[in-house]
Amino acid sequence: MATPNNSPDTDDVAVIEQITHGNQQAFTRLVTKYHRLVRVIIWNFFGKNIDPEDIMQEVFLQAYVNIEKLKERAKFKSWLLRIAYNECVDAAHKNKHAFSGFSTDDLAEKGIHLEDEKAQDQFSIISAWNLLANLASEDRTIVWLKYVENCSYSEIFAVTGISEMAARKKASRAMQILRERINI
């Protein structure tokens, strides 16, 4: 899932080229490719206690309507995630949703049991979910972009609008909190 730093996506450029030449249905390829990332952004803000459908529709609608205005087409991913981030910030202000991670019951429904936590394959999933619940949504998104999506701090700035220096400090502080809480 993660893409290397600063690697422009030539596939995206070709698809956007098709869209701007009238093949509007080509946009579904971008939706298919990036809808999971948009979901993760929404999840980072709100956790499980929200229906992501409306926000996702709005995010992709904004992207669809404005795609012809995108100058650096190779940076479509960052641009899309910025739209998603802004939509989540707006939704958070409007709805005051608090982040809600997975409970023990939720995990049990998924066949994950805390007693198995020490099993290597289950351990990392539970740790990631539960640890990140301790962070603010903004910090959680930065950590995800930095350590999972391998984004550079300049890309994090492009997505969140948080300066590179501020994002670096937030990431450092968040990772320190997680290190202190991690039980591994």
Partner: protein, 352 residues
């Protein structure tokens, strides 16, 4: 190097831990400091946990997402756009399309534009513009006729090798019409038509009607036309395009406005009204200031003693309130047509 410096390095090089191990000061410190070594190991495991956790994680996995294109955007791509994109995509489809177009062009260039009709007078009495009276059975030439009495016309296809195709019709006395090769033009008066065969076109001043398996009434008077569709469907073609209407609808067309207006709610008309005096059907539609004082509805005069001098004389106007109208949906097409001069009223026995 102090322990605080080591923690700063975690954040600066966290995503490329190999860089840390290449730093001799860092390596020396963690080899000596148990706490920092433990922190570093946690840091590495944390990053691995986050990567694995998120890479295996799809939020709301049970919910399928399908982007809904906005309505106005889905229509943005016109047929021309699709064809253009198809042509631009590669030369092979373009060549195929061009070849298909040539074949179609060659095929249609040898076909007639529209069927050519021969119109006949079946019953009644018509006069042409030269005041030459034509009685039943005669073929109608392409000229202007006036119905002396209620009459019936029909057609067959001149290029048809099979049995003649007929349509049943009534032409109100005093009506003026033109028979052409492809259509009938109603200049004034009223027509009742049932039609279930080849596509027949009716023209009225300023507009046209395509008939597609239909029974309908048509009246024209002073640059305005009334259409009542009893059964089937017709296409109304005016300056703004083509509108397909279905049974039970009344439409008004005025040459001034250049378009058909649905007046189904405000007006009902019948063949009796139209046949007795087409102008009466328009009376309720006149502006109030122009409307005459209502008078008692006149009994339709079916006498054949209509003007036969070749000049069209509109019948005397009478006022027929909509409430007094008769339901035409009693299937007048079932009325019989015989070859005598008597006109079989399609709504005989109803109303009035």
């Amino acid at each position: 190097m102090k322990c605080s410096d080591i923690k700063d390095l975690f954040s600066q090089h966290a995503d490329t831990d190999s860089d840390l191990t290449k730093n001799p000061d860092f390596v020396r410190h963690i080899s000596e400091c148990v706490q920092c070594r433990s922190d570093y190991e946690k840091h590495i495991r944390l990053i691995q946990a986050l990567k694995k956790g998120f890479n295996d994680f799809t939020p709301w996995p049970d919910q399928q997402f399908k982007f809904k294109f906005p309505a106005h955007q889905t229509q943005k791509e016109s047929v021309a756009d699709i064809i253009s994109r198809f042509i631009m995509s590669s030369w092979k489809p373009a060549a195929t399309l061009a070849f298909a177009c040539i074949i179609l062009l060659l095929f249609y260039s040898g076909s007639p534009e529209a069927p050519v009709f021969d119109f006949y007078l079946k019953t009644g009495k018509l006069s042409d513009v030269a005041a030459k009276t034509q009685t039943y059975g005669g073929k109608l030439s392409s000229s202007t006729f006036i119905a002396d009495v209620e009459s019936q016309i029909c057609y067959n296809l001149s290029n048809s090798s099979g049995s003649p195709s007929y349509f049943q019709s009534k032409v109100a006395p005093g009506s003026q019409f033109i028979t052409g090769k492809h259509e009938i033009t109603l200049e004034a008066g009223a027509l009742w038509i049932t039609h279930h065969d080849a596509p027949l076109k009716i023209a009225i001043p300023g507009a046209r009607i395509n008939i597609i398996g239909t029974e309908f009434l048509l009246a024209t008077h002073e640059k305005a036309s009334l259409i009542r569709l009893i059964d089937g469907k017709i296409e109304l073609i005016d300056s703004k395009g083509v509108v397909e209407i279905k049974s039970g609808k009344n439409y008004l067309y005025t040459k001034e406005q250049g378009t058909f207006i649905d007046i189904s709610e405000s007006l009902q008309t019948t063949w009796d009204t139209l046949a007795s005096s087409p102008a009466t059907a328009f009376e309720p539609l006149r502006p109030t200031t122009d409307r005459q004082v209502p008078v008692q509805k006149q009994t339709p005069d079916k006498s054949p003693d209509q003007p036969t001098n070749g000049s069209f004389t509109p019948p005397p106007e009478t006022f027929a309130p909509a409430s007094e109208t008769v339901n035409m949906d009693e299937n007048p097409s079932e009325s019989t047509f015989d070859n005598n001069q008597e006109f079989n009223n399609p709504v005989e026995g109803l109303g009035n």
